[in-house]
């Protein structure tokens, strides 16, 4: 176990011992270690790297340190910057987890139920990765989809997220009232400068899903220079559009017969996504 004090030292430690695993909050990693599923050859603790525990502004963007905890991001000052990420952080498990778990950890664990992931997808955030060759940028969706990988010696240093100055919503459905993993979640952000609505659905697939056509359609209905309100029927239709895009009907069989019906559980999930997307849009435009 090493405890580097800067990103540079952390990269050096990871390069020197490629089998070592970086650890920040440890809420996922240490659970796997304790249950015997993982036995890392070494650990590089990121807790002392102060430069990744805060945020700074950079050309209309926020440069978020990967070591920001959920608890920190849940506070009102952060919520004023990126409201959806703050809401997702507040929903990310019980206080013990939120106090320790970090933004970077949520991304690298890449659990389908990771609460920050649909928000980052909707924000089209970019990861700033530190490595032996310096820093490089990777769109967060590329990492989650496996289109880009972290190379040996690399770790996530920052997340670059746009500051949109407009309403954002994160909603999640869970099986209980207390903290629980999402059965489905929806992040929705308005981007008035680009006259866009961006939406991502979490927890129902291996990575957050973006219903791009539904986004474009609903953005075309919004009066961006006016009150930005929509009829309830439009929100309803948006919800159905998003849900059908993320959980499509089964394909019709080749012989042209009836398409098989969705299983009741899947149908319920689709209804849940529709309700969440409708409620999220309604909230963002209210």
């Amino acid at each position: 176990m090493t405890l580097p004090a800067s990103l540079e030292e952390a990269v050096a430690a990871l390069t020197a011992m490629p089998a070592a695993v970086p650890v920040a909050g440890g809420t996922d990693l240490m659970a796997a270690v304790n249950s015997g599923h993982l036995r890392p050859a070494g650990l590089v603790g990121l807790g002392r790297i102060s430069e990744i525990r805060g945020w700074q502004y950079q050309d209309g963007h926020a440069l978020l340190g990967a070591g920001l905890t959920h608890a920190r991001m849940g506070r009102p000052d952060f919520a004023a910057l990126i409201p959806a990420l703050a809401a997702a952080s507040r929903a990310a498990g019980p206080p013990q987890i939120r106090n320790a778990g970090t933004l970077g950890g949520n991304i690298v664990t890449a659990a389908p139920t990771g609460d920050s992931l649909p928000v980052l997808a909707a924000l089209e955030a970019t990861l700033v990765v530190a490595g032996p060759g310096g820093q490089r940028d990777i769109p967060v969706s590329h990492l989650l989809a496996g289109r880009a990988m972290l190379e040996p010696g690399e770790l996530i240093a920052f997340v670059r997220a746009p500051l949109l100055h407009a309403p954002q919503v994160f909603f999640k459905a869970t099986g209980r009232t207390g903290p629980g993993r999402a059965t489905a979640s929806v992040a929705l952000v308005l981007d008035p400068a680009r006259r866009a609505v961006r939406c991502a659905v979490g927890a129902i697939a291996q990575m957050p899903l973006r219903p791009l056509e539904a986004e474009a359609w609903i953005a075309s209905l919004v009066d961006w220079d006016g009150e930005r309100r929509l009829a309830p029927e439009a929100c309803e239709a948006f919800g159905e559009y998003v849900a059908a895009a993320c959980i499509p009907d089964p394909p019709r069989p080749d012989d042209g017969g009836e398409a098989p019906a969705l299983a009741p559980g899947v149908l319920h999930l689709r209804r849940t996504v529709a309700a969440l997307a409708r409620r999220a849009l309604g909230r963002a435009l209210s």
Binding site: K172, A173, T174, T183, R271
Partner: protein
């Protein structure tokens, strides 16, 4: 006084009464409260011995497979490994079982469920032991598992004993009678896990005489000792089970299946051996609540009075018999609930499958049928256009009525009073009426709650359980009370599982002897047996034994004084360590009266015997019954199907309140466990494999899920055959709460809700 105590006191007397500081009726705190709060209380996982080895168990990854070969050579060759044992190394009986001896200590030839022990290793480090189990090569021929209990009847026998563990065709009254109104229903109850907060752990220490001492959180130490001795091939006297702190017990804990590998490894290595299960092993190792399938047909007359109940009840016992026979007896006997039913035809089966074994979990059998018969009562009420509470009121059982088993209810059965109490209790305000309270919507504070989609529902359920062992179980407990130097000590093998026995024992001695300082000795099997810590046994049987022993000590203490002053011992009283006569002439201290002597007395308590159910399900099978009424108020988001239980109002038949704070805590715990069974707790086992043996996916209720629990009435009608007149209090709220929640969700959504736990898709308004 704590809040709990205040609530309970208010529920008893209507107003807050002054409570005594000691003795019966006092809210005496448990002696270990402080140590448990501060984290210094020692549990089995904290035990340590010089030179101890660590054990690990290799468990079957398959639900059903033939073992072709087991090769332990690689594991044995690992440095640090001291012993590897399999079925071939069991010196005594290769099988064990509390009621039916049908379960191998280690699988031999066949594995019948996921997680069945196949081998065990002792090594000098826990990681070495785990790695060694991974190095054992077991060649399996995977077989098709039988996981649907309905398939078990026709399937090839999974065990030499066959697939039918028990069948009870209860027949009561006239089968040809019919009612004017008939409702039918099919209900499914899931697999609740006891999920004790402390996972299983134990330490076995070999003795110089060739025996072994096992330190663990056993809840039935004498039975476990006997089973361990039989399988270890030792005389009983050479096996001693020492009970450590119990970190939560909702069923049997650390039973023989856990103790045997430990004992065997200690004997093989000659060293102390410790085994501490992780969460996954804990889920795989202990028994679960019986998943149950129930078909019901209720007949009633036009006024809503029950005429006949027909039911088929199928309990999935899993791979081994365990407690299934008793669970089935409870399910069949209480299939109609605390309602008067003139004609009943209940057929029950417990069958063997390749699912994880089911066993004793609080309220077993009774919980499953409660959810079903209350579902039927709701259907009847809807069909007759009656209020659900009114329909129930027209059918409630009372003392003197008959159970479908032909047994007359002789104990107090204040069911109507309980129902009236919860029905008449004011309903909680609606969010729109008190917006300032910051209402928690279904789905939680950061969920997707949408007030306009939330509907409120109110539901009722009445439940019952039996106390003590049923069907002719010999119930006996022995206790010793010792007084020396003004301090009393209780020695009784009743295990304190959190049910509060040790506090109660202290209160009984305080009450009888007037001595405030009372210690309860640790439990081991050198003491005479007291029975398992289940079915309210210790409040009744062990509490009764403690009282008798204390009374004998009292007589020994007072007789010489009484003799000296020429009065009977009844005219002397003891309080605050002082003995005084009725006229105040005599006044001395207990210490003086003892005069340096040590007084001992040992007594037994044996309740009246019961009889097994006969071939038509008839018989006086139960010693006592306890009843409970629950009114649930739920909020349901009818689009997402998310449910929040807002309030549970409980009225309970407790006989007598012995410790108000403890009683309130037991009821609150029971209701919360019931809410878990109703909404989230279900250990899923697709194809017989335990899917998610962890507390992330097995969702226990958290503080946010636990509703407001209002104990609105505690009916104190003393049961004359029970010591102190008190009834067991822990199980009946667990039994009744899930049915009440289901009833409330029905009211909120208009959906049938025939499955527990309630899935979100069953709670959306238009599916």
């Amino acid at each position: 006084m704590s809040n709990d105590a205040a609530t309970a006191a208010a529920a008893v007397g209507g107003t807050e009464q002054e409570q005594p500081a000691h003795g019966l009726g006092a809210s005496l705190p448990a002696a270990d409260t402080r140590a448990k709060t501060e984290g210094t209380f020692p549990y089995a996982a904290d035990l340590w011995a010089e030179g101890l080895l660590w054990a690990a168990i290799l468990r079957s990854p398959h639900a059903h497979a033939r073992i072709v070969s087991i090769d332990t050579s690689a594991a044995e060759a690992m440095p640090g490994v001291r012993a590897v044992v399999t079925h071939a190394d069991v010196p005594g009986d290769p099988n064990y079982g509390r009621k039916v001896v049908d379960r191998p200590v280690f699988a031999s030839g066949l594995v019948r469920h996921h997680g069945e022990p196949v081998a065990a290793v002792a090594a000098d480090h826990p990681d070495t032991a785990r790695l060694a189990t991974a190095a054992i090569t077991v060649e399996y021929e995977v077989l098709e598992p039988v996981t649907d209990p309905e398939q078990a009847f026709a399937a090839e026998p999974l065990h030499p004993d066959g697939n039918l563990i028990r069948h009870i065709p209860l027949s009561f009254g006239d089968p040809d009678v019919t009612g004017e109104v008939v409702v039918e229903g099919l209900y499914r109850i899931g697999r609740q896990d006891p999920a004790p907060i402390g996972a299983e752990a134990g330490l076995a220490v070999p003795r110089p005489d060739g025996g072994v001492e096992i330190y663990t959180a056993s809840t039935d130490p004498h039975t476990d000792r006997d089973l361990a001795a039989a399988s270890l091939g030792l005389e009983r006297e050479r096996v001693k089970v020492v009970v450590t702190g119990v970190p939560g017990a909702m069923g049997d804990r650390e039973d023989a299946g856990f103790q045997l590998p430990l004992g065997l490894l200690a004997l093989r290595t000659g060293c102390p051996v410790k085994l501490a299960a992780n969460r996954e092993e804990s889920f795989l190792g202990h028994a679960h609540r019986h998943p149950t399938l129930l078909r019901y047909r209720h007949h009633a007359d036009a006024e809503g009075r029950l005429v006949k109940v027909e039911a088929q009840i199928l309990l999935d016992a899993g791979a081994y018999a365990d407690d299934s026979s008793e669970s089935l007896a409870a399910a069949v006997s209480f299939a109609c609930g605390p309602y008067v039913v003139p004609h009943a035809f209940i057929e029950g089966w417990a069958v063997r499958t390749n699912n994880p074994p089911s066993g004793h979990v609080r309220g077993e059998g009774a919980l499953q049928v409660c959810a079903a018969y209350e579902g039927q009562m709701d259907k009847l009420a809807a069909k007759l256009g009656l209020e659900p509470a009114e329909l129930r009121m027209r059918n409630v059982l009372a003392t003197g009525d008959l159970l479908p088993t032909g047994q007359t209810v002789t104990c107090p059965a204040p069911v109507a009073e309980l129902l009236r109490a919860v029905r008449d209790f004011p309903l909680p305000t609606l969010p729109k009426d008190s917006p300032e309270e910051g209402w928690l919507l279904p789905g939680g504070p950061e969920g997707a709650g949408e007030p306009s989609a939330v509907r409120r529902g109110v539901g009722y359920a009445l439940g019952m359980v039996h106390m003590l062992g049923a069907e002719g179980t010999d119930e006996v407990s022995t206790a010793t009370v010792k007084v020396h130097d003004g301090v009393a000590t209780v020695i009784c093998a009743a295990v304190e599982t959190g049910q509060g026995f040790s506090t109660l024992a202290r209160q009984i001695v305080q009450e009888t002897l007037g001595i405030d300082e009372v210690h309860v000795a640790a439990v081991d099997t050198d003491q005479p047996p007291a029975g398992a810590a289940t079915h309210g046994r210790h409040t009744w049987v062990s509490g009764g034994a403690v009282e008798r022993a204390a009374k004998m000590v009292r007589t020994q203490l007072l007789q010489p004084l009484a003799h000296k002053f020429g009065m009977s011992t009844e005219l002397l009283s003891i309080a605050d360590g002082k003995i005084t006569s009725y006229d105040g002439v005599l006044s001395t201290t207990v210490t003086e009266a003892l005069d340096g002597k040590e007084l001992w007395a040992t007594a037994q308590c044996r309740p009246h015997p019961t009889e097994p159910l006969d071939e038509t399900g008839q018989g006086d099978a139960f010693v006592g019954l306890a009843f409970c009424a629950v009114r649930a108020v739920v909020d349901v988001d009818i689009e997402l199907g998310s449910i929040r239980v807002v309030e549970m109002a409980v009225a309970q038949d407790v006989g007598r309140v012995l410790n108000p704070a403890q009683l309130a805590a037991r009821i609150e715990a029971g209701v919360t466990q019931g809410v878990g069974a109703a909404l989230t707790e279900n250990l899923r086992t697709p194809r017989g494999l335990v899917r998610h043996p962890n507390l992330t996916h097995y969702a226990l209720p958290t503080a946010l899920d636990a509703p407001d629990i209002r104990i609105v009435k505690l009916v104190e009608e003393r049961d004359v055959v029970a010591p102190f007149g008190a009834k067991a209090a822990s199980a009946v709220p667990v039994v009744t709460s899930p049915a009440a929640v289901a009833s409330a969700v029905r009211a909120a959504t208009g959906r049938p809700v025939n499955r527990l736990p309630i899935r979100p898709q069953a709670a959306v308004s238009n599916p």
